[in-house]
């Protein structure tokens, strides 16, 4: 298990290295560029040239890359020149990353807490009205664009009803920072107002972001439970006279969780795309917002770091999925 984990982590380093080159080249192949983005189209050729030299863009691309790599290995990913000019890309990432993580965790919690029980109930009532209604609901959930859903939620609950805040992470301004996860910070420091306030700010974006994962988890759970209910070992459990709760918990759900765990991993990995949209609608200062802004302003250092970090998160999440898979399924663990 340990050796496997180490091997996977080493693979991850290789993947990240290759990816860094691809992203580096790809960013510089994009039309436009930081010079036009920063100076506008009507800048004089002299000022353009000065900026190009200043940003090091006059050198051959592989020289640029090697320089970048050399600095990156010392933890220096360059300085933002568009999103938050003057801040290092790393600092920018570190202040924004916890926001996105917090938002994603809440979105996944929503997906799991609602998706798994509803999926189980729908499977048990297969073909009934509850099953039909939730299946249609999940189809709608998958089909509605995140962007549209985010706007709709914001319009109804923040603008029209005014029951929930419409933007940022927190209204309380004097909260103590510990981890960068605002809800957690409020709980640790026992600043309950701050925690509650941060939580209220998360509700709408987390629903918007969590809807697709919820719908997917629901559908996979339902399908997996239907499969497992037909298995011989469930009939064996019934033949032993076990209680319905025990059969559900020990024999049905545990086996049905195998595909669901994979799904949760994939959905978590895919969350960033949704986060870009959600964070922009709710002016939520996470990496998704920075990514959108970075593209607009061609902020190469910031984009380079954020994309690689996103890839790293994706790989780590998948590793965690595989490890938890082995935890549930002894056929993988004890080979």
């Amino acid at each position: 298990m340990l050796r496997y984990t180490v091997r996977r982590l080493l693979q991850m380093v290789v993947v990240l290295l290759v990816l860094s080159l691809l992203v580096f080249a790809w960013l510089r192949a994009l039309p436009g560029g930081p010079v036009s983005a920063l100076l506008g189209e009507r800048a004089t050729p002299e000022s353009r040239h000065d900026l190009i030299v200043q940003l090091g863009l006059d050198q051959p691309i592989f020289v640029q890359y090697l320089k970048f790599l050399g600095r990156a290995l010392t933890g220096n990913f360059g300085t933002s020149n568009g999103v938050q000019p003057g801040t290092t890309a790393m600092d920018l990432f570190l202040t924004r990353f916890p926001a996105t993580i917090e938002l994603s965790v809440f979105a996944i919690i929503i997906a799991v807490v609602f998706g798994i029980p509803l999926g189980y109930m729908a499977a048990k009532r297969r073909g009934g009205w509850f099953d039909n209604a939730t299946v249609i609901g999940s189809l709608v959930g998958i089909a509605v664009p995140v962007f549209f859903l985010a706007f709709l939620l914001k319009y109804i609950f923040a603008v029209k009803l005014g029951v929930l805040p419409s933007d940022s992470r927190q209204s309380v301004t004097d909260a103590t920072r510990v981890t960068g996860f605002f809800v957690l910070d409020g709980i640790i420091t026992q600043e309950w107002d701050a925690a509650w306030d941060a939580f209220r700010h998360l509700i709408l974006p987390a629903i918007a972001l969590g809807t697709i994962p919820f719908a997917v988890v629901f559908r996979i759970t339902r399908a997996a439970v239907l499969d497992v209910l037909d298995e011989d070992y469930v009939r064996t459990a019934e033949s032993k006279g076990l209680t319905a709760q025990l059969i559900r918990r020990r024999h049905v759900l545990r086996n049905a969780m195998l595909p669901v765990v994979t799904t949760i991993g994939l959905q978590t990995g895919a969350l960033l795309a949704g986060a870009v949209l959600t964070e922009n609608v709710f002016a939520f200062p996470g990496v998704g917002q920075a990514l959108a802004l970075g593209f607009e302003r061609r902020d190469y250092p910031v984009l380079q770091l954020l994309i690689m970090m996103a890839a790293m998160v994706y790989v780590v999440v998948n590793l965690l999925v595989d490890l938890s898979y082995a935890l549930i399924d002894p056929r993988i663990r004890t080979r």
């Binding site: 064996t236 019934e238 033949s239 006279g241 025990l246 020990r250 002894p330 056929r331």
Partner: protein, 332 residues
């Protein structure tokens, strides 16, 4: 008094948009305490459905069960779901055909045995696991203390079936139903499992319903045999009687189709021609008629009823004549 009295057991499956299908059609038989009763017949004749109906394990929707299944004076078919749960595993145990798919792959063997004891005898997990190891030992699994913490995929096929037998017998039920318990196993293992079952039910006085399509299994194990065809009992007799003198043409065919060591050299095996798909409904004929060498015109017009011929129950218009009579006829 019989331990189990099955009367007119009928199971009709109804799938949406399909014709209702009668898988078990008025089956009646008794099981005395400690007795081993065989249910024999080819694939699809309703053996498994009969046993699942007795256990209350048929799907709630889509299957209609009528008739009665009296177990010590309680009609199991009239019990509520929870009352039946209290009985399964305690009064009635069941062993299924495929030991690998019948075991939960993600739970240890020990827990799968122990959970029956926890459920019905209120044991703690610790005590139940100790007991489980003892049970595994009793069914011939070596090194039971190690095996209880192993998973099904770590056991051989024969050991898995032994573990399933241990589970079914853990609470000392008075009736065990074994649905083709050896079909999925290697031939050498089959014999071991059968003699294990035989020994266990003899030692504990457990009654056994043995479901099989293999007459060899019946010969070694059963006191009484019910031959099923198309969801109905077509012949019932004591084991020796049945083997010495099969009267129903279907039973006769089944026996003639097993290879025998004592048969004269050169004698051909006589498999039954056709297959179950040739069946005609029982409504106004004998379902076996299209495949029956003895069929008469009446067989396609009138449903044969069950009749007692001495100690034997037969459902046939033109049964095979006893061997004695046959030789007499031949010598005339």
């Amino acid at each position: 008094m019989a331990l189990l009295e099955v009367r007119d057991l009928t199971v009709v499956f109804q799938r949406r948009g399909e014709q209702p299908f009668t898988a078990v059609d008025g089956v009646s038989f008794d099981v005395e305490p400690g007795q081993t009763v065989g249910l024999v017949g080819e694939s699809g004749c309703g053996k498994s459905v009969t046993s699942l109906a007795i256990m209350g394990l048929l799907p709630k929707r889509g299957a209609t069960v009528t008739g009665s299944v009296k177990f010590e004076d309680t009609d199991l078919l009239r019990l509520s779901g929870n009352q039946m749960r209290d009985r399964r595993g305690r009064d009635l145990g069941m062993v299924f055909q495929d030991p690998l798919s019948s075991l939960n792959p993600v739970i240890t063997i020990g827990v799968q045995v122990a959970e029956v004891l926890e459920r019905h005898q209120g044991m703690s997990r610790k005590k139940a696991l100790t007991e489980a190891a003892g049970l595994l030992d009793k069914v011939g699994i070596p090194d039971p203390n190690r095996r209880i913490s192993e998973y099904p995929h770590q056991l051989s096929g024969g050991m898995r079936q032994r573990a399933l037998i241990a589970m079914a017998l853990a609470c000392k039920p008075r009736l065990l139903i074994a649905d083709e318990p050896t079909t999925a196993l290697d031939v050498t293992i089959q014999a071991q499992i059968l003699s294990l079952l035989k020994g266990l039910v003899q030692d504990t006085g457990t009654a056994l319903i043995m479901i099989t399509h293999d007459l060899g299994v019946v010969a070694g194990l059963c006191d009484e045999v019910n031959v099923l065809y198309g969801g109905r009992v077509v012949e019932r007799a004591e084991r020796h009687e049945l083997f010495a003198e099969p009267r129903h043409p279907y039973t006769h065919g089944l026996l003639a189709s097993i290879p025998r060591l004592d048969a004269p050299r050169g004698e051909r095996l006589m498999p039954i021609t056709g297959s179950v798909s040739d069946n005609i409904p029982w409504d106004s004929a004998c379902a076996f008629a299209p495949r029956c060498p003895n069929a008469l015109d009446v067989c396609r017009e009138v449903t044969p009823e069950q009749e007692w011929r001495g100690s034997r129950l037969l459902r046939c218009h033109n049964p095979v004549q006893p061997a004695a009579a046959e030789t007499e006829e031949a010598s005339v």
